[in-house]
Structure formats: structure tokens, C-alpha cells
């Protein structure tokens, strides 16, 4: 398995850069992963999205529908794509420490 390394962080990831063990996730790691997805600084709205994704994943074991994401965080769809240019599936999920979504993504 490849490793994701940034500063003193070293975490196992899959070939697409998604971390393998969600327990290893922390805010420092999220900041570092965000940089790989074109997010320079994690603002309040970024954290709101990422924390919702992570909580949902820990509870249900899958990524939520983007509908739920927008409804629960109150952020419009357009804003989600502004915050994470690579989208909720690849960008936000990766930063939130979820595994790579399955299927055509």
C-alpha cells in the first residue's frame, strides 16, 4: 500500500490517495489531504461539510447522498462545489477520511 506523507504525517492510503483506516483521521491530516484536493485553507464551511461526512460515515458505513449533505449542513449544492472543486465524492470524502466511493466516480 502506498503511504501519504506530509510533514510528520505518514498514513497508509489506497492508490487513489484515500486513507485506509478512518481511526487515523484527525484535523491535521484533513488539512494536509485538503491541499491535495485544491483546498488551500480549510474554513468553517469546509469543516462543517467534512465533519458531517465523517459522522455519517462512522454511523452508517457509507457516504451520504449529496442531498443529505446539503440539507443537513444548510449549504447549497453550488457552494459545495466551490468549497471542494473536485466535488463531494472525490474531494470532500477524501478529506473527511472516507474510503474511495464505489462505482463510476
Amino acid at each position: 500500500m502506498p503511504m501519504f506523507e506530509a510533514g510528520d504525517i505518514s498514513v497508509e492510503v489506497d492508490e487513489d490517495g484515500f486513507i485506509q483506516d478512518p481511526d487515523l483521521w484527525n484535523e491535521q491530516l484533513a488539512n494536509a489531504l485538503a491541499l491535495t484536493e485544491g483546498v488551500e485553507t480549510m474554513g468553517d464551511e469546509h469543516w462543517k461539510l467534512v465533519k458531517y461526512l465523517r459522522d455519517y460515515y462512522l454511523q452508517f458505513g457509507i457516504a451520504p447522498m449529496v442531498r443529505k449533505l446539503c440539507k443537513e449542513t444548510g449549504l447549497p449544492l453550488k457552494r459545495v462545489y466551490e468549497l471542494f472543486p473536485s466535488g463531494p465524492a472525490k474531494g470532500a470524502c477524501k478529506v473527511a477520511g472516507l474510503p474511495k466511493p464505489t462505482g463510476c466516480v
Binding site: E15, V66, R67, L77, S86, A89, V105
Partner: protein
Amino acid sequence: MSRVRSQKAELVIERLGKKLNRQIVGSLVACVHCGMCTDACHYVLANPDDPSYAPAAKADKLRKLFKRHYDWTGRVIPWWVGAKSIFTDEELEDLKDTVFGKCTNCRRCSINCPMGVDFATYNRMTRGLLVSVGIMPEGVAVVSKDQWEIGNQMGVLTEDYLDTLEWMGEEMQEELDDETAIIPIDKEDADIVYTINPREVKYDPRTISDAGKIFHVAGANWTMPSEGWDMTNFGLFSGDDALGGSVAARVYDKLQEIRGKKLVISECGHGYRSTRCEGPNWAGMDIGFEMESSVITMLNFIKEGKIQVDKTRNTTPVTFHDSCNNARSCGLFEEPRELLKLVVTDFTEMYPNRAENYCCTGGGGAMSMSEYTPQRLKSGIVKANQLKDTGAKIVVTSCHNCVDGLNDVIKHYKLGMEVTQLVNLVANALVIPEKKVVPVVEVAEAVVEEAIAEEAVEAEEIKKELVLTGRKILIVDDEPDIRTFFGAVLEDNGAIILEAGDGDQAIEIANSEKPDLITLDLSMPGKDGGKVFEALRSNPETERLKICIITGRPELRKLIYDQELSKPEGYLDKPVDEDTLVLNVRKILELS
């Protein structure tokens, strides 16, 4: 001494025998190892020193098995034809890494082979053999399971799907400022049944609201199905024809249940190929309805004048990437270009293009197989160079898989380009028919609100003054032009318009909607006006509905007046002018 063969290897060999048809055998025996395919493959071009990527070499891994077990040359001169069997599960794993990891089934080698060897077809078949003994990449297994069990490749539950469509309907209403803009679900007898890729509903539904806006503005009679809405098909990627048939049948069955006229497939290459081209064979079904790509639907809307587009809204330089499944396997490459040129101002072709274009790297389900991502990205250098040479800022493609494949290539090779689909560009260029806009100047908010309220009251009053306000009128005519003309005239006078293009539809709508008036044409294919009149008058549910016969063939009058039924409320000869139509309709509604 004979070697012991694993049970999986035994099964693969046995099942290979059952898969051999003329096309496969022709491809297996015809290869002369000339090397034309080598130059055609993006994996080879990116790895010139690694012969294991050459299509002929990849093909030999299956060919040796075929020769050894199913071809006479392998029995007589095995050393000459390279016949060799497979014994262990490790060998099958190695085969898996070749057929899933070193080929995206893009078929570029197939169309460049002078001997007509369709390598991609038996690469897919080999995938199917391995899948049948449980050997496949994990991503393929997970997605296949979701498609078998939940009915779509991302395990989206029906309530979540419907909730998302409702949400997108709200977006449409807001953007169009039109509360009638909704996404109809399971509407029966719709002209268009629109099916999508689950990623649209799960992660990026903007393509759904964009398509919805286009359908709505075009005035299309469309719907989205509550089941069988996933037109993607992992059976194409995994080589599992049974899965392919099951997924495709789910789509076809639902369309038939709601009596849809045409299946429209959103911009997804493998979904289009699976549903339109391969699905009927896998499912063993005869398909009695039309199927088309949404690209063609949108193009026709523009050509028929149903929507207007303003290309000056899309001025960033674009290029077009052909999806392998669309272009090479289904011949869909001129229409997207024609449409693209209508909605953008600055289009540059990439080279090579159309059926000769290179794979986005994400074909054949590669996006779901992370284990092969590094070699996939390495092969992406070919695509990256093609993209870079265009100088464009946006790559347009009609395939969801390509969107992700291209995004990965762009990110990996730092090309700084965006990827989008035609539906997004068409929606952006779409001219929304004008509505009355309240002029807002720099005034205090309360004043503006007051003005809006007054305006609304005025608008309401104007509406009330219209002579046919609130009257529901069903126009029955097989001529779409006549329906449009009558509809526009009556609608301008406040009426709510329903339309039927044939007798059966007329009877059905009359029953379900109970319109205030029906204008009935006499000469129609199928059930003529006389039969419709008879059916309506003899049914207690509809016998009292007001009917105005409007015909261009007065000699057919007997169809109505010879019947021993209460006479129609009105009669008009075509051609009818605007005033005569309104006057007569009013007369019937107000006096009879």
C-alpha cells in the same frame, strides 16, 4: 505426468468452451502478430519498453488456453502455436491483472486490426470467465453486488433518489421562475423516459436539473422512472452477461410498465452502449420502443425550434473528447460535435478524434479499480498530450466515466483544465422564454415589496379578465402544428391546455382529466374522431363532456351525425382563424 489443476482453473477452461462463438473464435485464430494493434493502444504508447501491454501479447494469454483445449492445431502442433493450459489460481490472478488492469476495453486496437481481431470483445469475455469463479477486482465485486441487489450501482435507495429529484425540481423552479417546472415521476405515456447514471443522483445532480430545465423549456412530455432508472451496467465491465441482462431488463420493464415511448439515456458512454446496443441481447428481449442518447434529444430540440440557445454564453475555448463506447462501439461522434458547435463559440478539435480518439484511461470500469490506478495514470500521458495540444481550457465529453478519467489525468499532469458535459453547456446557453419582470430600482425594501404585491394583484386581475381563464380544454388532433396553434390561441385567452395526438390518448385523457371542452379532429390514424366520439358519448363518465368537432374534411361529418348519440356541442371547418376559434369555444362553454 499430468499436473493437478485447481477447481477454478478447471471451471474457467470448461466455461471457455461454452463461450466460443464465431466472432470469438475468428478473433482467436486470425491474429498474425503483425503489431498494428501495438501502435493503437494507449497503454503501449505510454510503456514502449514493456511488451506485456501489447494487445497481441495480452490476447495470447487467453489464446494459448483456447489452442490447448479447443483448437486442433494445439493438439497436433502445440509447440508451434503456443498452446498451453492453466493450472493454478495464481495464474488466474495474473490473468485478472492483465484483463482488468492492462486494458480498458476501449476497442482502439480492434478497429485498427487488419485481420478484424476484436481483442476487446474477448478481453471482456475473459473477464466474465474470471468473474464466474469469483476472481475480480474488489471494486467490480462491490458495484456488481449493488447492481444485483439494490438495482443501481451506488446502492441508492428509492426514497433518497426521489427526494433528490424533488430537490432538483425545486432548483429548476427557482432558476426558471416557473412553478410548473417539475420532474414528473412515472408519468404514463410520456414521450421521453429519462434514465441516468447513479453518480448524478448521489454526488452531482446538477446534470439532472440541467436536463430537466431543457426538457421543460422544450415543452417535452417527459418523465423519470421511480425504478429501473440506472442505465449504467457493470455487466459490460465485468463480462457477466447475466448481470448485464438483469440490469438492462429492469430499465426496459419499467419503461414498458409506464408505456413510455422513447428511452433517453443521459450522457454516459458505457450506459449508452449497454442499454441501447448490448442490453436487448443480454436480456433476451425484443425492444419495441426507441432508445437514444440525450445528446440527440437536445440536438433535435434545437433543430426543431423547441429550444433556443445563445452560444455567446459559452465563450471559453473548448475541445471534445470522444467516449470509447459512444464513438467506437456505437458510432455516436458527429451529433455531439454538431450540438457543441451550436452552444459554444470557440471549439477546437483534438487529434486523433472520433472513432480514433484515445481512451480517457477510465474505461472498462477502471475508475472503480484503485489497485491499477498508478499504471492507469501512467497510460494517461497519451491523453494528456492530446489535451495539451488543443490549447483549450475546457474538455467536453458525453460520458460520466470520461469526466472522472479526464479529471484524474488533468490533475496528475497538472493541465489546469476543466471537464464538463454537453448538458451543462446546453443548459447554460438555454434561452429562457421571457416572463414579466418587475423593474427593481434603488428603492427602500418596503416600497419594492409593495410594488411587487400590487403588480401581483394586477397580474391576477389581468388573468381573471381573460375569457377562458381556468377552462380546461383538450385538443385532439394528429397534426402537431394544429395542436400547437389551437393550444397557443386558447392558452393566450387563459385556458389550460391538454393535448392528444391520437384517439386512444384522447379517450384516456378525457377520462382522467374531464376537460371542460374537447376539440376533436375527425381524420386520424388508428381510432378516428367518430370512434372517439362514440366512446366518449357511450361512457357515463364522459357522456356529458362538451365536444367541438373541428375537421378539414366535412364529408366525414357522417362519422358523427350518423350515430344515434347526442350531437356534439359545436362544429367547425378547418382552416379556423383565431377569432372564430375563440368565439366558438366561448359560445359552447358559456351557452350550451
